[in-house]
């Protein structure tokens, strides 16, 4: 199944991408860098810790992973054939 969002036209997300990005709440200090750079709004802060709100609009850019000062974000690629796709890149 494929999802689209009006907010981000021209891009589709193939479902079943799973939890390919994870936040280690033990390591997270709540600096919110991930929220500042995520254009898809994947993150939220709950009780001074970042956590994944949803990955359904993630474009797998890795910006959150690069800016995490606590090394709390584990970034991997989603399973083959899932996640975002576009022919307009």
């Amino acid at each position: 199944m494929v999802k689209t969002f009006d907010e981000f036209p021209g891009v589709e997300w193939v479902e079943n991408a799973g939890d390919f990005i994870k936040v280690d709440s033990e390591k997270c200090t709540g600096c919110a860098n991930c929220i500042k750079v995520c254009l898809a709004g994947c993150y939220e802060i709950v009780k001074k810790k970042a956590r994944i709100k949803t990955l359904e609009k993630c474009m797998e850019c890795g910006a959150c992973w690069y800016v995490c000062e606590d090394d709390a974000i584990e970034f991997s690629w989603p399973p083959g054939g899932t996640g975002f796709r576009t022919n307009l890149g």
Partner: protein, 562 residues
């Protein structure tokens, strides 16, 4: 059925670089597997933009001599230097333009959509005999006594190979996992926020022609992303669409990470509501079709520590962005991905033939990357990086100088030596390359005009007969024949001349720097003076190309392909 789980070469990633390596290995008779995590090659690659001429001229043969799908030839850049957006105080630097009558046939580069071009490349690799497995994510490498011996897929499948070529892009998850290099820090990563707008071709032809538009401005105007972060707003005309990118580094040096989500939205809003040419010329004609983004490495080449990170290990080679080869100034990664893929394939073939895939043998790859004049030039340009100095001091003079030297005619100063060196290197190998280069330019323009690409189901331009341009065709054929005959007779001499010029090319840039203050005004004045003659001549040349029989522009391999 026995599953074939042993390969000579496994290429991870079917973006721009991966298929080039896979095709060359397959052409050499190696059992080659290309693995792509997306369902189709190129559909996770953002963003296309302009692939400069040197990628095509000095890159893979099958691209230069083929008929790849491109969106529009590019003839230069108009830089808008926005000093005060509220007052409409904007300067222009449009010095980097291919002059008439050469523009736009002798293009500065070609704009392309990633998916279309990467899929075309991947198809060529498959036709050469490479196996393509899509929808498969590679999660690890197989190690035996510290030597990389293959890869592991998400399902735990172990696929063995003599060499793994990692072409997975900037993030380099596999390279990090394999212990070849480290994760890049955020200050060398840029977030490219991309919009794709539909626009009728006739409006693009009229308003943009073949010219890119870049915007640069001061932070406080929030009209073009802060120069300190490295980049401005850039607009690329495609065939029926405009590709719009604003990008910024994730942070400047060790400073705090800015709120890029808020800033990029603010810049986009300001730009599309305040920039006069956008609101007046563009806005009435465009419809937003797509929005997407990508995090790509941009300044790896400028940091000694990062630049010297290994790009190979026992049984493994990194290419393109995975190896940190994105251009630091023009921000293009495709030419270096193509060059490094070509080199990686050569080294892999030699290593397998020599039955030695150890680090000791593969170090040749690194040596050849370090010796490649265009790769090294493209990852060492500092004008974009140094825009932060202009920003900090609010110094308009410095700002204009850096822009002129990176995206204006001043860029020739730094490019002269590497360009001369690679041109003479190619001529020394085979002077006939000059004819291939000329044919490529004419064929690419014809292909673009008629949408005649070597893609499945494309029939554009096939079977066209020459119409009313017999004399021009005969002249073109005669010119090519004369050049060919000249090269046949004087080829050995040309090779000697090129061999002498290669070491001398080192003086081209210093000489250009010395003479540039004299050359530039003379050149610009000549372009202006000759315009009444050169422009009509240019129009005639375009008229000839689009009406000609495309067979006259083909090289032997491109003819075979169609």
């Amino acid at each position: 059925m026995i599953m074939k789980t042993e390969y000579d070469v496994i290429v991870v990633g079917a973006g721009f670089g991966g298929p080039v390596a896979a095709k060359k290995c397959a052409d050499a008779g190696l059992r080659t597997l290309m693995i792509e995590r997306a369902r189709n090659a190129g559909e996770k690659v953002i963003s296309g933009l302009t692939i400069p001429f040197y990628g095509f001229l000095f890159g893979p043969e099958f691209i230069r001599d083929g008929n790849p799908p491109v969106e529009r030839p590019v003839d230069g850049i108009i830089n808008y230097i926005i000093k005060d957006i509220e007052k409409g105080d904007i300067d222009i630097d449009d010095s980097m333009r291919v002059p008439s009558p050469f523009s736009p046939i002798f293009a500065f580069g070609y704009n392309a959509y990633c998916e279309a071009l990467c899929a075309w490349e991947a198809q060529k690799a498959v036709e050469a005999g490479a196996e393509l497995r899509t929808s498969t994510t590679v999660t690890d490498v197989i190690r035996e006594d510290g030597h990389i011996k293959g890869i592991v897929t998400e399902g735990g499948e172990r696929l063995k190979s003599k060499i793994v070529i990692d072409a997975e892009g900037s993030q380099g998850l596999l390279a990090i996992r394999a212990g070849v290099r480290e994760k890049y820090p955020p200050e060398v990563i840029s977030l490219g926020d991309t919009y794709d707008y539909e626009m009728p071709k006739e409006d693009i032809d009229r308003i943009f022609g073949h010219t890119l538009r870049f915007c640069w401005g001061w932070d406080e105007q929030k009209i073009a992303p802060p120069l300190g972060h490295g980049n401005g707003l850039m607009l690329w005309p495609y065939r029926n669409s405009l590709h719009f990118i604003q990008d910024q580094c994730l942070r400047i040096d060790q400073k705090a990470v800015p709120n890029l989500k808020r800033l990029l939205e603010e810049y986009h809003h300001n730009l599309t509501t305040k920039l006069p040419w956008w609101t007046e010329d563009v806005a009435p004609h465009v419809t937003l079709r797509a929005r997407m983004w990508e995090g790509f490495e941009i300044y790896v080449g400028l940091k000694d520590k990062l630049r010297s990170m290994p790009n190979y290990t026992d049984g493994m080679l990194l290419i393109g962005d995975a190896a940190g080869l994105e251009s630091t100034e023009l921000c293009d990664g495709v030419p270096s991905a193509w060059f490094s893929a070509d080199i990686a394939a050569d080294v892999a073939i030699d290593a397998i033939n020599a039955n030695d895939t150890s680090k000791g043998f593969l170090k040749t790859y690194n040596e050849r990357i370090k010796a490649h004049p265009i790769i090294q030039w493209s990852i060492s340009g500092t004008n974009r990086y140094n825009l932060r100095i202009a920003q900090e001091n609010h110094d308009e003079k410095i700002l204009k100088k850096f822009i002129h030297n990176a995206w204006g005619l001043g860029s020739l100063i730094h490019l002269s030596s590497p360009l001369a060196k690679i041109i003479f290197s190619f001529i020394r190998k085979d002077p006939h390359i000059i004819i291939k280069w000329i044919r490529m330019y004419f064929r690419y323009y014809y292909n673009w005009h008629h949408e005649r690409y070597d893609t499945p189901g494309n029939k554009g331009g096939q079977g066209r007969a020459a119409r009313g341009v017999k004399v021009c065709e005969a002249t073109f054929r005669l010119t090519m024949w004369l050049m060919d005959s000249f090269i046949k007779v004087f080829g050995p001499l040309l090779k000697v001349f090129a061999a002498i010029m290669i070491p001398l090319s080192v003086v081209a840039s210093p000489l250009m720097k010395l003479l540039f203050p004299i050359i530039e005004p003379i050149y610009l004045a000549l372009v202006k003076i000759l315009a009444p003659i050169s422009r009509p001549l240019g129009k005639k040349m375009i008229d000839f190309v689009i009406r000609a029989d495309p067979a006259i522009f083909e090289t032997p391999s491109s003819r075979k392909e169609l």
